[in-house]
Symmetry: C2
Subunit: 205 residues, 2 copies
């Protein structure tokens, strides 16, 4: 005895939202069609009807997650900072705090990284996302390099942007496994130390 009919796009979104809830709570490998159906108050058959297959459901969820994740936001307050280094640091700080403020989303992203290791379709989606993320760091990195061309003679904007991305992803790992010990400020202090040039003379007198 079928239930109320709903226009197709809304149903897809409803099921996708339920999938997100289940996956965020239980992880990708516990995200079964039966659980999703239950979470969406819908029959298992309907999930298959709209997504064909479990695999495609999870791919659709990945698309949804990537589409609704703000890649990198450089807000006006950051853009107003005088030195390029400060701007980069400010962006790094913001990205690192996101790790602790959106744990569910990050955990789910993690699951997809893991799945991407063995699944080519997922891996490709992640690669383009990684590239976007790296590209969003590029202008910031380029400004930093331009400010001190002598010091950074061998460093390319790509390289510095890649370094920043690696750092963020590494922090993501640490914050997932070792949340209590992970401290944004410790990391940033060290990063600032590395990026900041030596003062001509000690001004702390």
């Amino acid at each position: 005895m079928p239930g109320k009919r709903v226009p197709e796009p809304e149903r897809r979104e409803q099921i996708l939202a339920a999938t997100y809830d289940v996956a965020a709570e239980h992880g990708l490998w516990e995200t079964t069609i039966l659980r999703v159906a239950a979470a969406a108050n819908v029959s298992p058959g309907l999930v298959i009807f709209h997504f064909e297959t479990r695999r495609q459901l999870l791919l659709a969820l990945l698309d949804h997650v990537l589409a609704t994740t703000t890649v990198l936001l450089v807000d006006p307050a950051v853009a107003a900072l005088p030195s390029p280094t400060e701007r980069l640091i400010a962006v790094l700080r913001r990205e690192m705090s996101r790790l602790t403020s959106e744990p569910l989303r990050i955990r789910l992203t993690f699951d997809y990284w893991m799945a991407g290791v063995r699944d080519a379709a997922i891996r490709e989606k992640l690669q383009t996302e990684f590239a976007r993320y790296r590209a969003s760091f590029r202008p910031l990195a380029a400004e930093v390099l331009r400010a001190e061309p002598d010091r950074f003679a061998d460093v390319t904007p790509e390289g510095l942007a890649g370094l920043a991305v690696s750092l963020i992803k590494g922090c993501a790992v640490q914050s997932m496994i070792d949340a209590e010990r992970f401290d944004v400020d410790d990391h940033l202090a060290a990063a600032v130390g590395l990026m900041t040039n030596v003062r001509p003379a000690s001004t702390t007198v």
Copy 2:
């Protein structure tokens, strides 16, 4: 009709080795007792007999992997380098190349990171391993800071070691997902640029 009897510790190792093979090839979530039993030429029941449960088998495998992974090796050639910064960079280079030279082991480690997100027992084991890894970076970091106390006034050895670990783990993520694009030298060049101080004057004439 039982087969040959084997002293207990050898059987455990044999099954563990088979588990490693299966997990390295198919991933943790495809590592089933049946597959492990087949790979070890042994009955499924025997696997349970020795490890009680699938979960405990995977925990034992994690212990095995961690125990047989060299934490961090600072070989004599590195120790002989004159500057602390060069030593740290050399170690970072070695760790990064390990990512591409031991892909199977790294992939498996990756699986456990992900599993640790939702499994407390796995997470605890990883936390102590992370701590060991960080600790092995500490002396190197401390030397770097001691060499330039003015510049690194606000940086603690812990902080710099943590930064190095985050960087390595981030590189691991990138090399897993984006192996073709990941380039050790790019990353290192950028890192060297950050860590190297400005030369008093251009000596390239």
